[in-house]
């Protein structure tokens, strides 16, 4: 066990070092501003502006979390505080199944169901037209994909709240809903944040389903109904092609490094928060 742990830590560092090593050439050749604040991505002209990709990644992720978190919170509250034991026994495996569905299936579902929904209903409702391949579409698909992980963490968090604490609130005449709102959610707040962060870090890294529905147009998306081009899609679509272009490979490695660091940081933060909760409860 110990050996395996060290092995995975070593692997993590090896990947990190590899990515940094491969990113060095482009960092040397191109100015910081031209990499991170430029919207021009023209590899043949040696222009590698990563901004559209970074913004798209953040945008899709945030849309996904904004859609997902309220639904997950309500679901978790219902399951842990209101639902019958039989409902929980029935729903829990379903959530696990959702977690196990391959990404590509979500992508196809996105193309068949969500793209037309956005194209035919949501965009017209806001008075615009759209191909349906948008940030919003990616966000909706992604929100369903991060559902299971967020719900799982939330259920565990709610599980740790002592029955007697709820009773303390009920015993002064609070209703169940008041108890949920004023006591349980407050007590669970750090855990809720950690669930959100975990969902975020999962969402950042998700590739296939998103790239199938998000449009892959290199531009800075302003409205959620604009198309976008997340970092993961950039890497997946282009790595291995056009590698003869100088620095192209290095630019993609830099993009990977950015993604890797973002995910690492978010994972680290959520772990810290979870540890804190566990310590407080013990």
């Amino acid at each position: 066990m110990k050996g395996l742990t060290y092995f995975s830590i070593a692997l993590l560092f090896l990947i990190l070092i590899g990515l940094i090593y491969k990113s060095v050439p482009i960092l040397k050749e191109t100015s910081f501003g031209n990499l991170f604040f430029s919207t021009e991505w023209q590899p043949l002209k040696m222009k590698f502006g990563l901004l559209p990709f970074i913004i798209s990644t953040l945008y899709v992720t945030i849309v996904a979390v904004v859609i997902s978190v309220p639904l997950c919170l309500l679901t978790a509250i219902y399951l842990s505080e209101y639902a019958d034991k039989r409902v929980i026994a029935f729903v829990n495996p379903l959530i696990d199944i959702l977690a196990g569905i391959p990404s590509v299936i979500f992508g196809i579902w996105g193309i068949i169901e969500v793209v037309p929904l956005v194209r035919d209903y949501i965009a017209p409702a806001f008075g615009t037209t759209s191909s349906g391949y948008t940030i919003l579409t990616g966000g909706i698909v992604l929100s369903i994909m991060i559902f299971p992980i967020i719900i799982h963490v939330l259920l565990e968090v709610f599980e740790t709240i002592p029955e007697d604490l709820k009773n303390a609130s009920l015993s002064v005449g609070a209703t169940k809903w008041q108890t949920v709102k004023l006591v349980i959610l407050r007590k669970a707040a750090p855990g809720v944040i950690s669930a959100i962060v975990l969902g975020l870090s999962r969402a950042f890294g998700e590739t296939l389903a998103v790239l199938m529905v998000v449009g892959n147009v290199i531009m800075i998306p302003i409205s959620p109904l604009d198309p976008g081009y997340p970092i993961t899609a950039l890497i997946a679509n282009n790595y291995g092609e056009m590698m003869s272009i100088p620095l192209y490979d290095s630019a993609l490695m830099l993009a990977s490094l950015i993604l890797f660091v973002i995910v690492l940081v978010f994972n680290f933060i959520s772990r810290r928060i979870l540890k804190n909760i566990e310590r407080k409860i013990a």
């Binding site: 034991k85 007697d164 709820k166 009773n167 015993s171 002064v172 005449g173 004023l182």
Partner: protein, 267 residues
């Protein structure tokens, strides 16, 4: 130690006097297991009643029936009546909120709500519609004084309640319960997690409160029952074996199981 006051308890009569808690034919099941078996008892108003008995005999269950916290446990079944001021607590049309408001609860370990000291005491009143800051200030101070906590916390009312010592937390929970003006205080081994001084604090409060509140307290500490109880109920395996004025049950138990328990043979 002996108390001279004889208490007139209307045992098993048709009438349930104002303030008394009259339990009639109460049965409680957790799934298939019966935790309370045909409980019939009247708990006298404005007295301290101690419920004693070995672990698992149903003391907590009985308390949870009084404020209907038993409702929130999955798979329970309750039959029988608990009458209070002419109303059956288990009447399907009974207002659970109103019932719970009438009863303050102290649990085995203090559970301050995850908010400030002030907000803990103001929690109940706010829920029941009091919004005015000046009124809340008054309530908070009054009940913190009632629980003898005011002097210790007056300069840090807005700090988290979790920063208090366990003994202080339990007094805070007392103040929180009192702030909704209950008639009854239910204590489930309220001193078992506390140090001797904090325990003495709570005991002293209970004795002081006797004329204002009906107090029902579960305890594992016989000496505590001797010190403060007027009336004692001894339970065993989900049944009430014996009950009566404290000195009678403790000094002249009629049932062998009671005397065995008091002697420490069953515990």
């Amino acid at each position: 130690m002996k108390k001279e006051t004889e208490i007139l308890v209307p045992l098993m009569t048709e009438v349930c006097d104002e303030g008394n808690i009259c339990v009639e034919g109460l049965n409680v099941y957790y799934g298939d297991r019966q935790a309370l078996k045909d409980i019939n008892i009247t708990l006298p108003a404005k007295k301290i009643t101690a419920i004693i008995g070995p672990s698992g005999c149903g003391k907590t269950t009985l308390l949870k029936c009084f404020n209907r916290l038993i409702d929130s446990i999955d798979g329970t079944k309750v039959t029988g009546k608990v009458m209070l001021n002419g109303e059956d607590i288990f009447d399907p049309h009974a207002d659970v909120i109103k019932i719970r408001k009438k009863m303050g609860l102290l649990s085995q370990r203090p559970y301050p709500l995850p908010m400030s000291i002030y907000d803990n005491v103001a929690y109940g009143p706010r829920i029941h519609g009091i919004r005015k800051k000046s009124e809340l200030n008054q309530i908070v101070e009054y009940y913190l004084r009632e629980a003898s906590l005011w002097d210790e916390v007056m300069d840090r009312l807005n700090t988290p309640a979790s920063g208090l010592s366990i003994g202080q937390q339990q007094r805070l929970c007392l103040a929180r319960g009192l702030a909704v003006k209950p008639e009854i205080i239910l204590g489930d081994e309220p001193t078992s997690a506390l140090d001797p001084i904090s325990s003495a604090h709570i005991e002293k409060k209970f004795v002081e409160f006797k004329n204002k509140y009906t107090i029902v307290m579960v305890t594992h500490i016989l000496r505590q029952a001797i010190r403060i109880a007027d009336y004692i109920i001894f339970m065993y395996l989900g049944e009430i074996i014996e009950h009566g004025p404290a000195h009678q049950v403790l000094d002249n138990p009629k049932d062998k199981r009671t005397s065995d328990y008091i002697k420490g043979i069953i515990s």
